[in-house]
């Protein structure tokens, strides 16, 4: 799971797994119907999101032994304190208004800032979108945003042949504040206790409604037009849940403050709690309730501790200061759920994990798909200096300032740069070759250009300032696929001409770092010596080091290679002692991946595992995350053998990891080793019994062995854990359909699509069951829904045509 994939709306991969294993039974009455999924799998990292909780629940440890080696890996150290319940709870937070009495200046600055105005309950003050009753027209639907007589903001969705659906707006996210393209989204409350984003977003600059189509038509963010189907919007029906909930493989905990979501297993409903839809004081400073109580009691004066976990941030060192902002302004891999400000971020998230596999960045670590400002870690200002976010951004008012804390005129003020790079300010024109006062004379025009986030597409402007702070290299940038800074103004000049001019002005420019050169060469398909060009143990560049390690694994390593380049091994062993926990873990995982059975490597790994000390848990979780990711990659590509090898390696590092055990079950199930699969699902459930989807997968494996009654019982157990688990209802529907229990099947399928209206296969099989009871009109409605959400399902299209022919197209 990648935190921060804003607007990236894909169905959980776990759901894909379950769907993919639905027995594609075809009723004899309607031959030729086929099942189809038609969606790309979500990033596979979601499978490990429960790692932390799983370890916390670990009850049995068994020594794992490598296939051919004799060295046993030491077990994890006894659990430390980090788990879902450790650290502050929502009740430890006081809210921004509690800060105002004593910290008036900071509060006032914050109140008017982007963070202070990030969202809220809908009102005339914060809604920028048009809620004037003017319809948003799709080709198959009309959506009317309006304000009721009670001042309630609502969307009314009308589709032919269906009752109108009204979605009251419970919350507004965003206010179109961002200069590079600002949007506003809307939340609505759902019956299962979740808050979900509606698919109708508004973008200020263009002044239009738009939606994200990436999971459907893959056209990026596009203005809604009458040429579009409502289901072209990936969030229709609403799926993107507010808060970080593993079931939905979706992290939206940064569009507000102190957001928690938890499934209540008694009621089967989610409990969603949100302290504020603004980004409040405690999002950065941590929980302040105790501090406020001490202040009100007059007891703060003689203690240097502010009380209760709240902290001042002005004296944090560079990395600690960055980490405050990276709570939200970074992609992250989840390793333990339940994060709240005040907890240890690195115990909950692996900041560099998204570099493993997903490639959200170019080889020089500029944003390739969609990301935030974490690639500041690749800037020279970080690598060769100490620059952190608050050196330029006033954290309270979000105005701009220089390195000395002096306020600046705005985002284009050169002093952001020249307060450090004073040499360039002496004669600015000699450096910029542009007239003073012109856009080309601004440092940020060339070194921090606004670059369109490529995953958004090019229809709507959503550009963010490049925080790698690069030197413009027109030819190189263009070859890489990055819009070069010069083109921000000089759109009529060819890349060749721009390069010619920069050559003339600057001659040879600062060379790329060798590790970046290596990654660029690898990306270009050139032959690289991995040891020499990708592995740099002695540099300070964790982001590049992790990125290069992933290239090494993917291009140069194989699980249990017969022989590993000794120089690669030597450098990996050096990287395994890196200061950065992400670098260390991925280096250790790389050695384990390629040479885990080699006796000397195995001894090395065992030695390192035995000496992780206070980093034991952090390193092991990241190590397992890496092996698990590549295990998933093998499994989903059909190579179950290598997947199983890697999963077992992961279990050597964190024995009885429920996510790994679950995925071992999936791999064996795919190999038709159903009995073994069942064993692994049951082992996973023995560690964490509250995994509804594991029970669904267990049920499918049981069905594959013909143990249908036990399968049905497994689905029912899943529903006891999560009463809104659509896939459990769906598979129960299948169970009844196979037994010709059509009324029961219809009932279960209806529940499935009620809880997940976008479940195309649910509609499809509901239609089939309805045909069996001769309810053709209802079957047609279901078949049309199946096509609406999965146009690639030829069987569903055929069903629609046949039913229209039979009943005359009503």
């Amino acid at each position: 799971m990648v935190l921060g994939r804003k607007k990236k709306k894909r169905r959980s991969h776990k759901q894909e797994e379950v769907l993919a294993q639905v027995p594609p039974e075809v009723p004899p009455e309607m031959p030729g119907f086929r099942t189809g999924v038609g969606r790309r799998p979500w990033t596979m990292r979601a499978g490990f999101a429960l790692a932390g909780a799983a370890v916390a629940a670990l009850v049995v440890w068994t020594v794992s032994r490598g296939g051919g080696g004799a060295t046993l890996f030491p077990p994890p150290l006894p659990l430390a304190t980090v788990n879902e319940t450790a650290g502050p709870t929502l009740d430890d937070f006081a809210g921004a208004d509690a800060c105002a009495e004593c910290h008036q200046d900071q509060y006032r600055a914050w109140r008017g800032s982007t963070h202070g105005r990030a969202g809220g309950i809908p009102s005339r003050d914060n809604v920028i979108a048009n809620f004037d009753g003017r319809p948003i027209r799709f080709k198959d639907a009309v959506v009317i945003p309006s304000v009721t007589a009670n001042d309630e903001y609502v969307f009314t969705v009308r589709q032919d042949g269906q009752d109108p659906v009204v979605f009251p707006v419970a919350g507004v996210v965003g206010g179109g504040h961002m200069v590079g393209g600002g949007t506003q989204g809307f939340l609505s409350a759902f019956a299962d206790g979740t808050l979900r984003f509606l698919p109708f977003d508004f973008i200020r600059q263009e002044g239009v409604w738009f939606c994200n189509t990436n999971t459907r038509t893959d056209a990026g963010w596009v203005e809604i037009t009458e040429d579009m189907a409502l289901a072209d919007c990936g969030d229709w029906p609403p799926l993107r849940v507010f808060g970080t909930e593993d079931r939905f493989a979706n992290c939206q905990e940064c569009h507000g403050s102190q957001i928690t979501i938890k499934l209540d297993h008694e009621t089967g409903r989610y409990e969603t709690r949100v302290r504020s839809l603004s980004i409040n004081c405690e999002s950065c400073h941590g929980p302040a309730r105790r501090h406020v109580e001490l202040a009100q009691a007059g007891e703060l004066g003689e203690t240097a501790d502010l009380g209760g976990g709240v902290r001042a941030l002005g004296l944090l060192d560079e990395d600690a200061s960055l980490e405050v902002c990276f709570q939200c302004h970074a992609l992250k891999g989840v390793i333990a759920p339940g994060y709240l400000p005040g907890k240890d971020l690195q115990s909950h998230y692996a900041l560099l994990a998204p570099l493993v596999g997903d490639k959200p960045f170019f080889p020089d670590l500029r944003v390739r798909t969609f990301a935030y400002q974490m690639n500041h870690l690749a800037s020279d200002c970080y690598l060769n200096g100490t620059l952190n976010c608050v050196d330029c951004h006033d954290p309270h008012g979000q105005g701009y300032r220089d390195i000395y804390g002096q306020p600046l005129a705005g985002r284009f003020a050169n002093e952001q740069c020249t307060s450090c790079h004073a040499s360039k300010a002496v004669d600015i024109t000699s450096h910029t070759n542009h007239r003073v006062g012109s856009p080309g004379s601004r440092c940020v025009s060339c070194h921090m250009p606004y670059l369109q986030e490529q995953e958004v597409g090019n229809t709507l402007r959503f550009a963010r300032s490049d925080h790698t702070i690069p030197i413009p290299r027109p030819a190189f940038d263009t070859a890489l696929g990055v819009e070069n800074a010069c083109r921000g103004c000089h759109q009529n000049l060819s890349v060749g001409r721009l390069q010619e001019v920069t050559d003339q002005w600057y001659g040879e420019v600062k060379p790329l770092k060798p590790i970046v050169e290596g990654m660029v060469r690898a990306a270009n398909g050139q032959t690289v010596d991995p040891a020499v060009e990708l592995l740099y143990p002695d540099i300070k560049h964790p982001m590049a080091q992790v990125a290069a390690l992933t290239i090494l694994i993917e291009d140069h390593l194989q699980p249990n290679m017969p022989a590993m380049d000794p120089e690669v091994r030597r450098r990996l062993e050096q990287l395994a002692d890196n200061e950065n926990v992400d670098v260390r873990a991925v280096a250790l995982a790389s050695l384990h991946y390629a040479a885990g059975e080699d006796p000397s490597t195995r001894a090395f790994l065992a030695g390192r595992l035995g000496s992780l000390a206070e980093h034991d848990r952090a390193i092991r979780q990241r190590w397992v995350l890496t092996l698990g990711y590549y295990g998933d990659a093998f499994r989903t590509s059909g190579d179950q053998g290598n997947a199983i090898v890697l999963y077992h390696k992961a279990l050597e590092v964190l024995p009885e990891h429920p996510g790994i055990l679950r995925n071992l079950g999936l791999a064996h199930n795919a190999q038709r080793n159903y009995a073994v699969a069942i064993q692994f699902f049951e082992r996973s459930l023995a560690v964490d019994s509250l995994q509804a989807l594991a029970l669904v997968n267990l049920g499918i494996a049981l069905e594959n062995l013909g143990r249908e009654l036990e399968a049905a019982e497994s689905y029912r157990r899943a529903l006891q854990i999560n009463g809104s688990e659509a896939l459990a209802y769906f598979n129960l529907g299948n169970f009844h359909l196979r037994r010709d229990e059509f009324a029961e099947a219809i009932d279960q399928y209806r529940r499935a699509v009620a809880f997940d209206p976008g479940l195309a296969l649910g509609h499809f099989y509901l239609g089939r069951a309805l045909i069996m009871v001769n309810d053709f009109p209802s079957a047609l409605t279901s078949a049309r829904k199946a096509v609406e959400f999965d146009p690639s399902n030829a069987g569903a299209r055929e069903m629609v045509a046949e039913l229209e022919r039979v009943i005359g197209g009503r």
Partner: protein, 237 residues
């Protein structure tokens, strides 16, 4: 007499900073947290302990700050932080830019740190024994000798008398292999804004408020004579 000095003192501050008039500086009482914060800024963010000692830690170039509150009046401490060159002409202490509330915090801390409750004393002459003013060096060698050599050593070997009191050894400007990797502009920037911005020691102060660009360039040129090296080829244009 006292009144006259006060006015004179305030006008000096105004002349150099353009700040609002301030008749005197009255230290504010600091909480335990604020004192800890002040110590953090003095030791871990600003260059103060590069030259001064505080509670046994720090350099030997300037006077010990541990008991400065006993030796100097609050307004003098405030003024030295705010604008040392005007307050004590001829001092090697460069002005460090910082937000006004931080000047206030550090001055309050230093004024009251060793003598709580007695910090808001009367103003008197900035310095009873003004130093003999000598002509400011104008060339790189002279500037280096006055401002840099105490840490970096007269020959740039990082062996100035103050070096042993620093947590990070001063850069060896005579090291040609290291120095040939650094562009002249980087050296300029480091002198101007201090070691902090280069990821080096924050105890190397920023001299940008007392040196002209020409003076910094002359210092860079002098450093090049110490290392007998040039900047990287890519930086020469």
């Amino acid at each position: 007499m006292m009144r006259t000095v006060t006015v004179l003192f305030t006008s000096l501050i105004l002349a150099t900073t353009g700040a609002p008039a301030q008749q005197t500086f009255v230290p504010r009482p600091l909480s335990a947290f604020a004192r800890k914060k002040a110590e953090g800024y003095l030791a871990d963010r600003y260059a103060c302990l590069g030259c001064h000692q505080l509670n046994g830690e720090g350099g030997r170039i300037g006077p010990d700050l541990t008991d400065v509150g006993r030796r100097r009046p609050p307004s003098y401490i405030y003024a030295m932080i705010r604008d040392p060159q005007t307050t004590r002409p001829g001092t090697v202490m460069p002005r460090q830019l910082m937000p006004p509330d931080r000047v206030d915090l550090l001055a309050s801390y230093l004024a009251g740190a060793s003598a709580p409750g007695s910090a808001s004393g009367p103003l008197f002459l900035p310095d009873r024994d003004p130093p003999a003013l000598t002509a400011e060096p104008t060339n790189g060698a002279g500037l280096y000798a006055k401002y840099c050599a105490s840490c970096h050593g007269a020959s740039g070997n990082g062996d100035g008398y103050n070096a042993e009191f620093l947590p990070v050894p001063p850069t060896r400007h005579a090291d040609s292999s290291a120095m040939s990797l650094r562009p002249d502009d980087t050296l300029f920037d480091g002198i101007h804004a201090g070691g902090y911005i280069l990821g080096k020691s924050h105890r190397m102060p920023a001299f940008g408020q007392i040196f002209s660009s020409a003076q910094i360039r002359s210092l860079v040129a002098h450093i090049r004579t110490l290392c007998r090296c040039e900047q990287p080829v890519w930086a020469r244009r």
